[in-house]
């Protein structure tokens, strides 16, 4: 394996995608604030985007599909961030905190 050709191999990008997914998932479990969890969730989405771009570049018969898919993921992620942040603000107004441990009325 040559380091110089590493950037031209599918596996490199698949590993990056899987790592982003893993880091995002770990962050979601580990983070104690909603903002942190939101950032981690975005990492999961970018992991999927990297995968789409990699498959698109190296394997796909039609090299536009993956790019379009990635563009849509970006748009959806933006919409999701807007909704999540607005709900987080609403949470903060009511609980005066965005910490997961403080926001735990519902149990049982």
């Amino acid at each position: 394996m040559n380091l110089l050709t590493l950037s031209n191999e599918l596996n490199t990008y698949l590993v990056i995608g899987a790592m982003l997914f893993g880091i995002g998932f770990y962050g979601l479990v580990q983070r104690r604030t909603f903002i942190g969890m939101l950032i981690s969730a975005e990492l999961i989405l970018s992991g999927a985007s990297v995968n789409f771009m990699a498959f698109n570049r190296f394997l796909a018969p039609n090299p536009t599909v993956g790019q379009i898919f990635t563009l849509f993921i970006m748009a959806i992620a933006a919409a999701e961030a807007a909704i999540a942040l607005s709900i987080i603000i609403a949470v903060y107004r009511n609980y005066k905190s965005v910490d997961t441990e403080d926001v735990a009325d519902l149990q049982g």
Binding site: G17, F34, N62, I68, F69, I76, E80, V91, D105
Partner: protein, 473 residues
């Protein structure tokens, strides 16, 4: 003509545009409601008129067939029923009601487009359209008297939802990488050559995850009880019923990718089904809030629905669709009662239903029919659905699974019937009479009649459901 193929969606889209302009002006909740209700009822008729249309739209990404059209009718019916009985919308402030109806309508559009989409990207977009609208419905509950749990439910709903979406997208990327296509028509033959490949199984499981989340199946169920409890009664009625039909429909479509060789997938779904049933039923036993209890019962019912899917056969898929349609009706019958009994849109404890047969005999009857049907007691639709799901699984040789499911049915009878006992045997004490409007009365009578009719004569519906499922292969 192509326009006729897209007519129901087009009507709803134009309607939502009009509703959007209404939200910018000073239109009260009453006007917005009557507009949305007219739209929903017109949409039911339009869906019936378009029932036998067939065709492809938008570069073959959108398929109009008997499968999609029949499910569109179910979704529109559920939407209209929720609108019909939420006459006063007690839990929502008047000034945000037009927005509330707008988001509910957008969510329905998303679901209706989802059952028609036969391409990964359009499926994803439709799913997100419906989900994001639902996320926004939850925190719109009025926060008088310092009520704040709706915010917590909303944040939990969206956080878990985004993760489920991420998992589904990751699975989609693997599907795309393995096959080089996003169209189901090309994915199905390509996947059949790949069934020995572990990556293919992982990809399908991940894509299924997004819809198992909507359905509330065991490892992705965290949101269910919290959202049910936190959202206003009418919102919960919508969230707990309508999206689940679309979720089952999409599960059927995705499982068609692995039919008939997906043995390893079947084992996984079996485990999920058993876990959902036991978890849902056992935790529901100790609940005091009725909506939370129905949430756990919803998890258990998601487990029952999986019983039909694991057969990987048309007949099994058809029973699953029949069962989830029945679940929509029984669940809506229960929520109709909850919405009427809650005087100010507050959450009800099970004890608040005490003496309901004196306070409102019709509501007590509706509640009893709904609960008996959910418990799976003949002659209601819940019994017939469970019976056919169990016999279908038994024919495939899943004896242990059937025994576990039967045990679960027995457990669930206890908590469903204790609600009926409270409504019929306890004295009402100081609780006031419940006034029920004329429309709500007729809706509840209609629900009772349909629940019984579907349970007594299921053959025709099952036949239709089987025809429906056949069209997707």
């Amino acid at each position: 003509m192509k326009l006729m193929l897209f007519a129901p969606e087009l009507l709803l889209l134009l309607g939502s545009l009009a509703l959007f302009f209404m939200t910018t002006g000073k239109v009260g909740g009453k006007k917005a409601r009557s507009f949305t209700l007219t739209l929903a009822i017109a949409n039911i008729f339009l869906c019936f008129a378009c029932l036998h249309n067939e065709g492809m739209l938008f570069f073959d990404a959108y398929k109009i067939d008997f499968f999609s059209q029949a499910l569109k009718i179910c979704i529109s019916l559920g939407f209209a029923i929720v609108l019909l009985f939420s006459t006063e919308l007690k839990g929502i402030k008047d000034e945000v009601r037009p927005e509330y109806y707008l988001f509910m309508l957008m969510s329905t559009i998303g679901l209706i487009m989802m059952v028609s989409s036969v391409e990964l990207l359009s499926m994803f977009i439709a799913l997100e359209l419906s989900s994001y609208s639902l996320y926004l419905l939850v925190p719109m509950r009025e926060d008088r008297a310092g009520l704040r749990m709706q915010m917590e439910s909303a944040i939990k709903y969206i956080m878990f939802g985004v993760v489920a979406t991420g998992i589904m997208l990751f699975g989609m990327s693997y599907l795309f990488g393995l096959t080089g296509t996003t169209y189901f028509s090309e994915l199905i033959p390509a996947m059949h050559g790949l069934m020995g490949n572990p990556a293919a199984i992982v990809a399908v499981v991940m894509v299924l995850g997004g819809f198992l989340y909507k359905l509330g199946v065991f490892p992705l169920h965290f949101w269910v009880p919290d959202v049910y409890q936190g959202a206003s009664n009418e919102t919960t009625a919508f969230i707990s019923s309508v999206p689940k039909i679309a979720a089952v429909a999409m599960l059927v479509r995705i499982l068609a990718l692995v039919t008939p060789e997906g043995k390893s997938l079947v084992t996984l779904l079996m485990v999920l089904s058993v876990c959902s049933m036991f978890y849902g039923n056992l935790v529901a036993l100790v609940q005091t809030d009725i909506k939370r209890m129905l949430g756990f019962s919803g998890i258990a019912h998601a487990g029952y629905v999986l019983l039909g899917l694991i057969t990987l056969q048309d007949s099994g898929y058809a029973t699953s669709l029949y069962y989830i349609t029945g679940y929509l009706l029984m669940n809506l019958a229960c929520f109709l009662v909850i919405c009427q009994v809650a005087q100010d849109g507050e959450n009800l404890a099970i004890d608040d239903l005490s003496g309901l047969h004196q306070r409102s005999p019709l509501l007590a009857l509706t509640l009893a029919v709904g609960m008996f049907a959910l418990a799976g007691i003949p002659p209601f639709v819940g019994f017939m659905g469970k019976f056919m799901l169990l016999t279908g699984a038994l024919k495939q040789g899943y004896l242990l699974l059937v025994i576990l499911a039967a045990i679960n049915t027995a457990i669930s009878i206890y908590y469903y019937l204790s609600v009926v006992r409270v409504a019929y045997c306890n004295s009402p004490e100081q609780r006031p009479e419940v006034v029920v409007g004329g429309i709500t009365k007729s809706v509840s009578l209609a629900l009772v009649v349909i629940i019984i009719a579907l349970g007594i004569a299921p053959n025709q519906i099952i036949q239709i459901a089987t025809d429906v499922v056949r069209t997707i292969q």
